[in-house]
């Protein structure tokens, strides 16, 4: 008797381990009174950890305004860390869709992650609201009826700056960008208008994502002696570049005309004084005087303190967009066609001012501004210097 039941015990034991792991996977079918489950995939580690944190803050800030309700259903956020790695983003999205049975997906910081999950999301027909990833292709050649972008495309944010820089900074500019989808697209968009306006590219250098030392690039800039530098960096890369730029004393001799990502308040907070005077193009500026912006800044500072930034704005708007659409269909997300119609029609009152979803490209049409780093209300942030008009992504 001893030998037999031992074998059963082990086999059962192996089975239990399997089930224990799988019991985590609930297979409940979404009913009406079930909470609306939104899978949020952002970077909570690696070079973009702070960005993920700020976007989540923006989302939660807006949810508080509507006390977590949309169309009569409670909203539940299931957060997953994409670890700034496209393969991980895909794995986590797959887990949220197949295991946690989420109704909607939101988030995605990295353009390469957006490209990686695009086909899967399209095939599974789960609406995805992109709160950050700039990749042009998501709303162009790889457009999907299920994917909407409420932030901005690389082209929209960087194209207008080209001409502006030639007029206000100078003709000879050194181009630096991160060596992945976002960096390349943004630089191409900037060059498009910059060269048309008669600008001259002194050098074009790409550096790897998440590198911890920019001294080599900075010594090249010092030697090239350009009139201006157009840098497309974000997260830690932006922080390290700006600090070493000041350490090398370049901020005395070379003008900075960079992507909005580089002069975001999360970066300025880490660098401080060294960034004063740097110019950039962005779809949000701290000093925009519209009621939505005032309300947002006041709510953010009350709840989190510190300086509000455009990542929080993007999270805030993305959630506003979702709540608006879900309200439109009274919380019934099961009818996909109706839900997609609601998303196309959704309007939001954004701290950025005028923002509207372009039904043809599923990308948000919005204003872009030129701004300069300055001390405002005792904070190191950006002040508006020019409105570059309403910019619509051409979609092709």
């Amino acid at each position: 008797m001893g030998r037999i039941n031992r074998r059963q015990v082990v086999k059962a034991g192996l089975g239990v381990i399997g089930l224990a792991a799988s019991s985590k996977f609930s297979f409940a079918v979404a009913q009406r009174e079930e909470p609306l489950r939104i899978g949020v995939v952002l970077s909570y580690s690696g070079p973009y950890a702070r960005l993920g944190q700020e976007i989540t803050r923006g989302m939660e800030l807006y949810l508080e305004r509507v006390n977590l309700q949309a169309g009569g259903r409670r909203i539940q956020l299931l957060k997953e860390d994409e670890e700034a790695d496209p393969a991980v983003a895909l794995r986590k999205v797959r887990k949220l869709v197949e295991q946690d049975r989420v109704d909607l997906l939101a988030g995605i910081i990295l353009s390469s992650s957006a490209y990686a999950i695009r086909d899967y999301v399209n095939e599974k027909q789960i609406p995805l609201i992109i709160a950050n990833a700039f990749a042009n292709g998501i709303t162009r050649e790889r457009r999907s009826p299920y994917i909407f972008r409420t932030s901005i495309s690389s082209w929209q944010q960087h194209y207008p700056m080209g001409a502006w820089v030639v007029k206000n900074i100078g003709k000879k500019v050194f181009l630096l960008a991160l060596d992945y989808a976002f960096g390349k697209e943004a630089t191409a968009a900037f060059k498009e208008s910059f060269l048309q306006a008669g600008g001259e590219v002194v050098a074009e250098v790409y550096s790897p994502l998440g590198s911890t030392d920019y001294s080599a690039v900075i010594s090249r800039i010092a030697a090239a002696r350009p009139e201006g530098v157009h840098a497309v960096l974000s997260g830690s890369d932006a922080v390290i570049f700006m600090r070493q730029f000041a350490q090398f004393g370049l901020n005395r001799t070379v003008q900075l005309a960079v992507s909005g990502e580089v002069t975001d308040e999360t970066v300025l907070e880490a660098i401080g004084e060294a960034a004063l005077g740097a110019k950039s193009g962005n779809h949000w500026v701290y000093t925009l005087n519209n009621t939505a912006n005032k309300e947002f800044i006041q709510a953010y500072r009350k709840k989190y303190g510190g300086v509000p930034n455009h990542f929080a704005v993007r999270g805030y708007d993305a959630m506003q967009f979702i709540v608006n659409a879900v309200q439109d269909v009274q919380g019934d997300v099961s009818n996909k066609r109706k839900l997609l119609e609601a998303f196309k029609r959704a309007k939001i009152i954004s701290p950025r001012g005028f923002v509207q979803m372009d039904p043809e490209t599923n990308n948000a049409t919005q204003r872009v501004y030129a701004r300069e780093v300055a001390r405002v209300d005792g904070l190191i942030t950006n002040k508006l210097i020019a409105d570059l008009g309403i910019i619509r992504d051409p979609g092709k």
Partner: protein
């Protein structure tokens, strides 16, 4: 002719307990076919990583070769399949290319690695593995660099992929176990025990180890190819040496000798890691503690303990 040694040669009667245990291991892997979705996804991942772990277990447990560069072969296999499909080659050719490419790098790096002995082998395999990582990360035109390589345009039916993975694992284990009973395998074990003695008998230890290293590299490449199909994405991050350490943890957890341990360790690790990482992102801490525990307390791994407890003492080699 062999009558004089009756009890030596006949195929040793494997104890029923041990046989049942191994059957339940394979059974466990086929179980998820009943549940679709994420559970099946994890099981396929476990089977494929199991194949790579078995290859490492063959090297480490039987050859005494501590390799921290297996992630490179995994990656080479993945990129081989990914690029083959991107160029429109048939899937079969891609899966054939994976072990060939990985095996070739095995030979190339082995030529350097086996010029040294002992702990330097570990350091060199680690360095050569990182060479592939940095190439994959930087050679954006070929590998897509940090954006990775997506194979989404090809959809392999998950069930078919899973059965393929599990059978590949089972076939690999039986082939390698048979190999260990042939002169080639016995010599491989002999070299681990005393390379000096083996060479004094006329055995060219350098080439022998290089051949085994290449076989293991090819098997790991095949597993890498399978993973590329499974994840429909290949990213340089999987080639970082931490993946090699994870494979090492699987082998040590399961038990480095007997090859079954490697497969068991892979299953255990994959499911525990998925479970842990769902409620904390500190799974690295978990892996570290697991490694320290295994090294200090369960030196020959959990599987032999199971087999011994169940098989009434004479665990298979």
């Amino acid at each position: 002719m062999m009558g004089w040694l009756p009890q030596v040669v006949r195929l040793r009667k494997i104890h029923p307990g041990v046989l049942a245990l191994r059957a339940s291991l394979i059974g466990f892997l086929l179980l998820p076919l009943a549940f679709k979705g994420y559970f099946l996804y994890l099981a396929t991942e476990a089977a494929l990583l199991g194949l790579a772990a078995v290859a490492l277990s063959f090297l480490l447990g039987h050859g005494g070769i501590p390799s921290l560069g297996q992630a490179a072969f995994l990656g080479l296999g993945g990129y081989a399949v990914g690029l083959a499909i991107r160029e429109g080659l048939p899937l079969g050719l891609g899966l054939l290319l994976a072990p060939v490419v990985a095996g070739a790098y095995g030979i190339l790096s082995g030529l350097f690695v086996f010029r040294t002995q002992g702990i330097f082998v570990l350091m060199l395999t680690l360095a050569f593995g990182q060479m592939v990582y940095s190439a994959a990360y930087k050679w954006t035109s070929l590998t897509g660099g940090d954006d990775g390589l997506s194979l989404s345009q090809l959809s392999v039916n998950p069930v078919f992929l899973h059965v393929g993975a599990v059978s590949a694992l089972a076939v690999a284990i039986s082939i390698l176990r048979y190999l260990l009973r042939t002169p080639y395998g016995k010599t491989f074990e002999a070299i681990r025990q005393s390379e000096e003695k083996a060479r004094s008998l006329g055995i060219a230890a350098f080439w022998h180890k290089l051949l085994a290293y290449t076989v293991a590299a090819a098997l790991t490449g095949l597993a890498g190819g399978g993973l590329a199909l499974h994840r429909t994405f290949v990213s340089p991050h999987d080639l970082f040496w931490l993946t090699s350490v994870v494979l090492m943890v699987m082998v040590l957890l399961g038990g480095s000798r007997g090859l079954w341990g490697g497969a068991f360790g892979a299953i255990l690790y994959t499911f525990i890691q998925a479970w842990v990482s769902s409620f904390t992102e500190l799974w690295g801490l978990f892996v570290g503690l697991l490694l320290i525990f295994t090294v200090l307390f369960a030196r020959e791994g959990l599987w032999p303990i199971l087999e011994r407890r169940l098989g009434g003492g004479n665990a298979g080699p």
